[in-house]
C-alpha cells in the first residue's frame, strides 16, 4: 500500500545562500535510495513537503528542472514564526531530511508547447518559474517552445534570486531577459521600476502566447491588469498560488479556495479559473 504521509530520505548535498538578507537558501537534495528518485518523477510547477522529523513539514515549490539529473532543488525562505523553515536554515551539508511528493498539478506544459512564453516573477516567488525556464531552455526541449521573455523583479540587486542562472540566461540569444529593481542603485545595469510598469514597457505580444506570473499578491494583481490590457485573454494567463498546507493530498482541508484544493487542484491556476474562485487567499 502506498503511504503518501511517509517521507522519503534525501541527503542535503549543497546549501546556497541566495540573497543578502540571508533569509533565502537553496537546498540541493539527493535521494538516499535511487528507487525513490524513480518514484519521485515530477513536472514543472509541482511542489513537495520538506519533512523534518520531530519538527514538521513545509510545502515548497520545486526549483530544479525535471531535466536535472537526480538533484532536487528547493529555495526556502526563513520566517521568524516558521519553525520548520528556521530549522531548515540551520541544516548543514550532509544532513538527511525527508521529502514527500511530488504534489500538485504543475504547469500545463503540453499547452505551452508551440507557444511564446512570458515568464514574470517577483521576489521570492521565482522558484517554480526557474524550474519551468530551465526545463524549456534545455537543449532537448527548446525547439518545442516559441519566443521566451523572462522578467524578474526584486526589491534591490542583493535580493535577486538565482543570480548565477540569470547571468547565464542573459548570455543566451534565445531568451529575452529583463531584470528590474524597485529603486536606483549604483552600478545597476538593468531596469528600475515596479514589475507592472516595466512589464508594460516591454509589452510582450499576446499572439500565440502564455504569460505565467508568480510573486507577491500586489504584483500579481497589477501585472495581470497589464497583461489583460496587452490583449492576453484570461485563459492565457497562469498563476501559482501559495497556501497553508499539511497533507498535500486534498484531505486535511486547510488549503482550499472555494471548492478547489491548492495542494491537489493547484497550485497552478489559469486566470480564468481564478476569476471564478472566491478571493480568499
Amino acid at each position: 500500500m502506498i503511504n503518501p504521509y511517509l517521507p522519503l530520505p534525501v541527503k542535503v548535498q549543497k546549501i546556497t545562500i541566495e540573497n543578502e538578507t540571508k533569509d533565502l537558501k537553496t537546498f540541493d537534495l539527493e535521494f538516499c535510495d535511487k528507487n525513490d528518485a524513480e518514484w519521485f518523477k515530477y513536472t514543472c510547477g509541482q511542489f513537495a513537503e520538506l519533512s523534518l522529523l520531530g519538527i514538521g513539514e513545509v510545502p515548497i515549490g520545486i526549483a530544479s528542472s525535471p531535466m536535472d539529473n537526480r538533484i532536487l532543488q528547493f529555495t526556502v525562505k526563513r520566517y521568524p514564526i516558521g519553525v520548520v523553515s528556521s530549522t531548515l536554515h540551520n541544516l548543514s551539508e550532509g544532513d538527511t531530511i525527508g521529502i514527500r511528493g511530488p504534489f500538485g498539478n504543475g504547469f500545463p506544459m503540453k499547452d505551452f508547447e508551440g507557444s511564446n512564453l512570458a515568464i514574470i516573477g517577483g521576489g521570492f516567488a521565482l522558484t517554480t518559474l526557474r524550474s519551468l525556464t530551465k526545463y524549456i531552455i534545455h537543449e532537448k526541449n527548446r525547439s518545442r517552445f516559441g519566443e521566451i521573455t523572462i522578467m524578474v523583479a526584486a526589491r534591490d540587486p542583493g535580493e535577486m534570486l538565482y543570480k548565477y542562472d540569470l547571468e547565464e540566461w542573459s548570455k543566451r540569444e534565445d531568451i529575452k531577459l529583463i531584470r528590474t529593481i524597485d529603486r536606483e542603485v549604483d552600478g545597476w545595469t538593468g531596469k528600475v521600476g515596479f514589475a507592472a510598469p516595466v512589464l508594460k514597457e516591454i509589452s510582450p505580444s499576446s499572439g500565440n502566447a502564455y504569460a505565467i506570473v508568480c510573486g507577491p499578491p500586489i504584483m500579481i494583481k497589477t501585472c495581470i491588469a497589464v497583461l489583460l490590457e496587452l490583449g492576453f485573454k484570461a485563459s492565457q494567463i497562469f498563476n501559482s498560488l501559495e497556501m497553508r498546507m499539511k497533507c498535500g493530498i486534498g484531505k486535511c482541508g486547510r488549503c482550499n479556495i472555494g471548492s478547489k484544493y491548492v495542494c491537489k487542484d493547484g497550485p497552478v491556476f489559469s486566470y480564468t479559473q481564478l476569476e471564478k474562485l472566491p478571493q480568499e487567499y
Binding site: 499539511k246 486547510r254 472555494g258
Partner: protein
C-alpha cells in the same frame, strides 16, 4: 437478495463475545443517556443501548480517531533518523460497529469518499483504508428521534440503509437484522449459528414500528436551493451577521459526523518522536495561518463562512452530496445555540 434474520436480545452478547476473538466490536456505552462508542468489554452483561438516542461524539472516531500515530522515528548517534511504522495488531483492524445510527452510517459513506474515494492510490489515506476495509457497519434504526434530529431533510431516514452493511431493527424482545451489502451478507453467513429465521409476524412488527418512523421527525429545513444559493453568496452581507455569536470553539466540527479536517504534528522527546495526525477545525484561527503571518481566513466571519460553504457548497461540488446528515450534534452542543438549521434557512432565503 436481501436477507433478514432475527436474534434474541439476550443472545446477542454471547454472539458478540465470540466474534470479539476476531473483531474489535464497538458499541455505544454509557449511562443516563450519555453515550460514546467503546470497545465491547468481556462481560456477560446484557447490552443496554437499545434505547439510546445517539452518542455525543460521532462514531467517526472509530475510523478517524482524534489522534493517531502515523509513524514513529528515532535518531541514532550519527544523527541519522529511522522511521518505523507500527505494525498494528491485525485483530484491531477488523471492526464491527454495532448500533450506529443511520445518519452516522451515511456520514461514514461520505468520509469514505474523502479518504479513500480516489482511484489514484497516491490520494488514498492508508490509515483510514486499513481500518475501513475490514469494518462491518451494523446500524440501528431509530425509534425515538430527538427534536434536534433532522435527517429527513437531508435525504436520510431514521430507518435509512445508506452506509450500513446490515441494519438492525429493535422489535421488542428481538432484533431483526437486514442485510444491505455483500459484506453484510457474508457476515450474517459467518454468524448464522446465532441467528434465526424471520417469521411473517416479525416483519409485520418491524413495519409497524418503523414504516412511519420518518414521520416522527418534525424538524424540517429545506435544502433544495442551498447549494445554488451559496454559489453566488460568497460576498453576501449575511456572513457579517451570522457568525457574530460564534465563539470559535470548534465543538460543531469536532462532534460532527462528516467533518474531517485534521492536522499533522510532531511530538518528540530526546531522540525519539512520532508524527501524529489529529483532528483540527476550520473554526480555529491557526488552521490557515501562513508562516509569513498572512491568514486568508483571519476572522470569525471567514471561518464560519468556510464551515458552511464547505458543507453546503464545496462538498456538493466535489462529491455531489451535502456534507450534513442532520444528526443534530452541532445543534445540541453549540454553547451559544448557533443552530445550523437556522443558518440553512437563512441561506435558502438569500436573494
Amino acid at each position: 437478495m436481501i436477507e433478514e434474520k432475527i436474534i434474541k436480545k439476550n443472545r446477542l452478547n454471547a454472539m458478540l463475545q465470540e466474534l470479539s476473538k476476531e473483531y474489535s466490536i464497538y458499541i455505544p456505552a454509557g449511562e443516563n443517556g450519555d453515550f460514546r462508542f467503546c470497545e465491547l468489554r468481556d462481560t456477560n452483561d446484557e447490552l443496554v443501548f437499545w434505547d439510546y438516542r445517539n452518542t455525543r461524539i460521532s462514531p467517526k472516531e472509530i475510523l478517524f480517531p482524534h489522534s493517531e500515530i502515523l509513524y514513529e522515528f528515532s535518531r541514532d548517534e550519527s544523527h541519522q533518523f529511522s522511521i518505523s511504522q507500527n505494525n498494528d495488531d491485525q485483530r484491531k483492524m477488523k471492526n464491527v460497529i454495532l448500533g450506529i445510527r443511520p445518519c452516522d452510517a451515511r456520514a461514514i459513506g461520505f468520509l469514505d469518499r474523502v479518504f479513500i474515494g480516489e482511484p489514484n492510490e497516491r490520494f488514498v489515506d492508508p490509515y483510514y483504508l486499513k481500518r475501513r476495509i475490514h469494518t462491518i457497519i451494523i446500524s440501528l434504526a431509530c425509534n425515538r428521534p430527538q427534536i434536534s434530529c433532522f435527517c429527513t431533510s437531508l435525504n436520510g431516514r431514521p430507518d435509512g440503509e445508506e452506509g450500513a452493511d446490515i441494519i438492525a431493527f429493535d422489535i421488542g424482545e428481538e432484533i431483526l437484522l437486514k442485510t444491505v451489502t455483500e459484506k453484510g451478507k457474508e457476515f450474517i453467513k459467518e454468524s448464522s449459528k446465532w441467528l434465526g429465521n424471520v417469521k411473517k409476524s416479525d416483519i409485520d412488527k418491524k413495519n409497524k414500528i418503523f414504516k412511519e418512523s420518518a414521520k416522527r421527525i418534525n424538524s424540517r429545513v429545506s435544502v433544495e436551493k442551498v447549494k445554488e444559493k451559496l454559489d453566488d453568496s460568497f460576498e453576501a452581507d449575511f456572513w457579517n451577521e451570522i457568525h457574530r455569536k460564534c465563539l470559535g470553539c470548534g465543538i460543531c466540527t469536532f462532534l460532527c459526523s462528516t467533518c474531517h479536517c485534521f492536522d499533522i504534528t510532531d511530538e518528540t522527546s530526546a531522540d525519539r518522536g512520532k508524527r501524529i495526525k489529529c483532528w483540527d477545525s476550520c473554526m480555529y484561527p491557526l488552521f490557515t495561518l501562513h508562516a509569513s503571518g498572512h491568514n486568508p481566513r483571519p476572522n470569525y466571519k471567514e471561518r464560519m463562512r468556510q464551515r458552511i460553504m464547505h458543507k453546503f457548497n464545496y462538498c456538493p461540488e466535489n462529491f455531489k452530496e451535502l456534507f450534513c446528515v442532520g444528526c443534530g450534534r452541532c445543534i445540541r452542543n453549540c454553547p451559544v445555540n448557533l443552530d445550523i438549521r437556522e443558518v440553512i434557512n437563512q441561506v435558502s432565503q438569500l436573494k
